[in-house]
């Protein structure tokens, strides 16, 4: 094998690696490329064929994926900002059960947070349509006449208890009055807290896919 035949697969692999590392900061990317090149050159210099050396790295894309995943996880964990954390969890959700579960919890929390904010906004303009209605006592037949099901349900409860937005409002007493604002704000705050906690917990526990995680065999020493 002449020098050109040796260099061609190595150059092609390094070019592919450079492209696959495109989402990393330039310093990291250059470092990884230089280290891979140094390793390959040294192994080829020992008389090992380029194909054998490159086989140890796997495909350039798969090799780069390990670095990119690690970079994204580290950045999201250290930033502790909601949007980057959410983006990273979404990215890993297809490959990690933990990320998928974290995303489900975050989505549920986000729904409650959004629901409470929408209710606050409606309450400001139509105070009569948002509240907590109780038809007491619970043991008796309820007086609530069900209206047509809302396209986007913004209330919880049924029959005796209704909480949230209801149009038309139920014909039994509303109990919270202006106290509904702190209640809804509290729910919004708790939902946001739960959303962040779900994302943080997922990011902390995400295990990188099997292609990257060390897959080891222990051999007896000869």
């Amino acid at each position: 094998m002449n020098a050109r035949q040796k260099d061609e697969p190595i150059s092609a692999w390094l070019n592919n690696l450079e492209q696959a590392l495109g989402s990393l900061p330039a310093d990291d990317s250059l470092d990884i490329l230089a280290e891979a090149k140094e390793h390959i050159d040294e192994r080829v210099g020992m008389g090992i064929s380029p194909f054998e050396v490159l086989a140890g790295f796997g495909s350039a894309h798969a090799y780069a994926q390990g670095f990119v995943d690690e970079y994204l996880l580290t950045r999201a964990r250290s930033s502790r900002r909601t949007i980057p954390m959410l983006r990273t969890v979404i990215r890993f959700a297809q490959r990690s059960v933990v990320a998928a579960f974290g995303l489900i919890c975050a989505t549920i929390s986000g729904f409650f947070g959004l629901w409470s904010l929408v209710c606050i906004a409606i309450k400001i303009f139509r105070p009569d349509l948002v509240g907590l209605w109780l038809d007491l006592p619970l043991s008796e037949q309820h007086r609530y006449v069900h209206s047509q099901r809302d396209f986007v349900p913004l209330s919880f409860g049924h029959d005796h208890i209704v909480f949230g937005f209801q149009n038309p409002p139920p014909q039994f007493p509303e109990h919270l009055g202006m106290w509904i604002y702190p209640c809804l704000a509290g729910i919004a705050f708790l939902s946001y807290f739960a959303l962040r906690a779900s994302l943080l917990a997922a990011l902390k526990r995400i295990q990188l896919p099997a292609g990257f995680r060390p897959c080891l065999k222990v051999f007896p020493k000869p």
Binding site: E35, H39, G56, F57, G58, G66, P214, L216, K217
Partner: protein, 104 residues
């Protein structure tokens, strides 16, 4: 079962002396008996460096024709290595006791 073995072995290597990637790979394969590929080792080194367990530095030594990236353990890495070692000792002692339970 082997979760953390690579980290344990790798931190143990760089605790003894500062080493570069290829040398670490040889040590893990030849002395620790671990079949570990380049495609696993370098991302793992990157991860440990990002989490602060090890640090790296490019050096040109007389014996080498080109620069090499050397890795060294940090104080955080030493603490993690101690924790990994404690876990490993506990696991091996417990497991050996389990395997030898019929020999008593």
């Amino acid at each position: 079962m082997y979760k953390g073995v690579a980290e344990l072995a790798l931190l143990s290597v760089v605790k003894e002396s500062e080493e570069y990637g290829l040398r670490i790979l040889e040590l893990l394969r030849d002395e620790a008996g671990l079949e570990i590929a380049e495609g696993t080792l370098y991302p793992l080194l990157y991860r440990l460096e990002k989490q602060g367990s090890i640090r790296s530095e490019w050096r040109i030594l007389d014996e080498a024709s080109h620069p090499r990236k050397y890795y060294a353990i940090t104080a955080q890495g030493k603490a993690e290595l101690k924790a990994y070692l404690d876990d490993w000792q506990t696991m091996t002692v417990t497991f050996n006791r389990f395997l030898n339970r019929g020999n008593k």
